[in-house]
């Protein structure tokens, strides 16, 4: 699940790299969204009042469709052009992490049984959420829904985050949207977090800017990847006893993992996992398996409202009036022209002001006074 403690480390060392924005400020932006993670999120978060998943009359789960339909419409209504990216097969390196997740799910299932007998309903809810699994059917239904909505999607050969990052790198989209910080380790220039959250949570979108992250941490991209491996990623175990603070200092001092390991104190060196394949993990981040997107064409089309009604209302038991009303928003925005931005036309020039300010006046007396001045720090 992403990189351990990276967000905190960034906000300490590069405070300018994560900035909150209103969803409205992303009008006209194309954004690649990690679909598999979003669906998982929806299945956990979109629930009935009693904590059960939403289902239709036949008992089929509809939480994922509900989430995908309304949250996508919220984005489109704000002028955002989303493209969803679905996971392919997981990389070999991830098998350890996946086995761990399976184990946790099994344990949760066991706990449910227990909780049903002795525990409270809160306990049952807690453990049912942990047993959530996204199946191929869920993914296929979401793809069918997106087709009806006129929203494009991409099937990644491997990890969706890596594909999102590749799309952003190739300038096909403005940013990648995911909750996992992995996405910037895959070198997405911009990462948006909380984009698919519900409106009620009033959570601003956090925009993580990779170049500012590197600038703030004073690292190169390769050093940054090594830092992420030290912090703990999905692919290899981390070294016990090395926290975020020590990790960043080690990277700054020794520049790469090869040099860090022999330099570790005796005690910590014992904790280095046996057969530690950090170099393979590094390759996965540097050259992940992604589909070439230079010729990929992403098309946003008019929604097919009748198909949407057939699917969501007739098959899945959604309320027809609400589906039609929401689809109307899709239709309206598909037609609407996109508002341009001034920077698309005029280029930024280095500010003259700061240049002049830095030139200290010859008179040192004046300079002293400037420092004392009560101006707000930048």
């Amino acid at each position: 699940m992403g990189i351990h403690g990276l967000t905190k480390l960034i906000s300490e060392h590069a405070p300018g790299a994560i900035r909150p924005h209103e969803i409205g400020s992303y009008f006209g932006r194309k954004v690649a969204i990690d679909a598999s993670m979003s669906i998982y999120q929806f299945m956990i978060a979109v629930r009935q009042q009693d904590g059960q998943m939403l289902t239709n009359d036949a008992g089929e789960t509809t939480s994922h469709l509900m989430g995908m339909f309304y949250r996508t419409i919220r984005m489109v209504d704000n002028g955002i052009k989303p493209v969803y990216v679905f996971d392919g097969k997981p990389p070999m390196m991830k098998s350890g992490e996946l086995a761990l997740r399976l184990e946790r799910r099994k344990e949760a299932e066991k706990n449910i049984e227990e909780a049903k007998e002795v525990g409270t309903s809160d306990d049952v809810n807690k453990f049912t959420r942990r047993t959530v699994k996204v199946t191929k059917e869920h993914n296929d239904e979401c793809k069918r829904l997106l087709k009806c909505m006129g929203i494009p999607y991409v099937e990644a050969p491997c990890e969706a985050e890596a594909q999102c990052a590749a799309l952003a790198k190739a300038n096909k989209v403005f940013a990648a949207a995911s909750e996992d910080m992995d996405t910037i380790t895959f070198a997405s220039p911009i990462l948006l977090r909380h984009l698919t959250f519900s409106e009620q949570r009033k959570m601003p979108i956090d925009e993580v800017n990779l170049s500012k992250v590197l600038e703030g941490l004073e690292l190169t991209m390769d050093q940054f990847i090594d830092l992420c491996i030290l912090l703990g990623c999905d692919y290899v175990d981390s070294i016990k006893g090395i926290g975020p603070h020590r990790a960043i200092n080690l990277i700054k001092e020794h520049k790469c993992l090869e040099k860090i390991i022999p330099a570790l104190p005796e005690k910590l060196r014992e904790n280095v996992p046996a057969d530690w394949k950090y170099d393979e993990a590094r390759e996965l981040f540097r050259k992940p398996e992604v589909a070439d997107c230079t010729d990929m064409e992403l098309k946003w089309e008019e929604p097919n409202i009748e198909n949407l009604v057939d699917f969501l209302v007739k098959e899945k038991g959604f309320n027809e009036e609400r589906v039609r009303k929401a689809s109307e928003k899709l239709h309206k925005n598909a037609k609407a022209a996109t508002q341009g931005r001034i920077q698309d036309f005029f280029n930024s020039v280095p500010t003259q002001n700061t240049g002049i300010k830095r030139k200290a006046p010859a008179d040192t007396k004046k300079d002293d006074k400037k420092k004392k001045g009560g101006r707000k720090p930048k």
Binding site: G24, S25, F27, E297, L298, K299, W300, A337, T338, Q339, G340, R341, I342, Q343, D344, F345, F346, N347, S348, V349, P350, T351, Q352, N353, T354, I356, K357, P361, D363, K365, K366, D367, K369, K370, K372, G373, G374, R375, K376, P377, K378
Partner: protein
């Protein structure tokens, strides 16, 4: 902090009195015959921009800022020869909160004589309002702030269509069309300029024909056309620009396809207010 100056300071460091406020070390001094002008200027930009730098140098005072969503840009120039007197020894950026500046300008009478003063490295802008008959003087100091602003290079564009028209008429058109539509399509041809809007309730359009109305120069619509253009813009922003209407009876709209619209209000003998607005772009998928 400010110790009493002793005699040796005056002898050896002629500028040591910088630590106290006197007019001698003032860096910027600009005197405007009518406060009304600056009051109207603030009304014209304060909706769009809340904080920005006024860049002062020996040629005058300039300002450039984008609105929050980076859709519009305002550029303002007040040339030094519009002031009497005007003095600015060195480039000096004055970072100001426009809402607060506006509060202070509201205290000035329209016909007051207004003087702006700032010290080098000082942290306030002084504003002095003198009544015409010279029997009332108001002095205000406004705190300055450091503002990190992005400065954009605006290329010299030779526009395909330049329309000169009455500023009041332009304001009226924007107001009327915003009743029914969010955006306006502007078509400029050799015959005239057409503004059209389309919304849920219906649609509407206003066409102004090219005319050289000799009786009333202010009302005339003149079009310099290299090539016909058709562009779509957000009315919300245009309506905002027309807050500059009191500054000039005339407005100039300069357009080329697929570049920002330039809306310019010229200030008599002083400079200009220019607004740039990024167009709405149709499907490019």
């Amino acid at each position: 902090m400010d110790a009493l100056p002793n005699a040796s300071d005056f002898f050896f460091f002629p500028y040591s009195h910088l630590t106290t406020t006197t007019t001698l070390d003032t860096m910027l001094e600009a005197r405007l015959q009518q406060a009304k002008l600056l009051k109207s200027l603030l009304e014209a930009i304060k909706e769009l921009v809340t904080e920005c730098n006024f860049d002062c140098n020996d040629s005058g005072i300039a300002l450039q800022a984008m609105d929050n969503s980076h859709v519009a840009l305002v550029a303002l120039l007040l040339r030094s020869d519009g002031f009497d007197p005007y003095r600015c020894d060195r480039n000096l950026p004055l970072g100001l909160n426009l809402t607060n500046l506006n509060k202070i300008l509201k205290c000035a009478g329209n016909d007051d004589i207004l003087t702006l003063k700032a010290d080098d490295g000082g942290d306030t802008l002084s504003l002095v309002f003198e009544s015409k008959d010279n029997d009332k003087i108001c002095e205000y100091d406004l705190k300055l702030m450091d503002i990190d602003s992005e400065h954009l290079g605006i290329p010299d564009t030779s526009y395909d269509a330049i329309v000169h028209m009455s500023s009041a008429e332009f304001q009226r058109i924007c107001r009327d069309l915003s009743q029914i539509s969010e955006s306006v399509k502007i078509d400029a041809t050799k015959d005239g300029i057409k503004f059209s809007g389309e919304g849920e309730v219906g649609n509407g359009s206003i066409t102004l024909k090219q005319n050289a109305n000799v009786d009333n120069e202010d009302e005339a619509t003149r079009i310099e056309l290299q090539q016909s253009v058709s562009l779509t813009f957000s009315l919300k922003y245009l309506a905002n620009f027309t807050k500059a209407t009191p500054l000039s009876t005339r407005v100039t709209l300069s357009m080329s396809n697929d570049v920002p619209l330039l809306v310019e209000y010229k200030l008599d003998n002083l400079g200009y207010v220019r607004y740039y607005l990024a167009p709405k772009i149709g499907e490019e998928n």
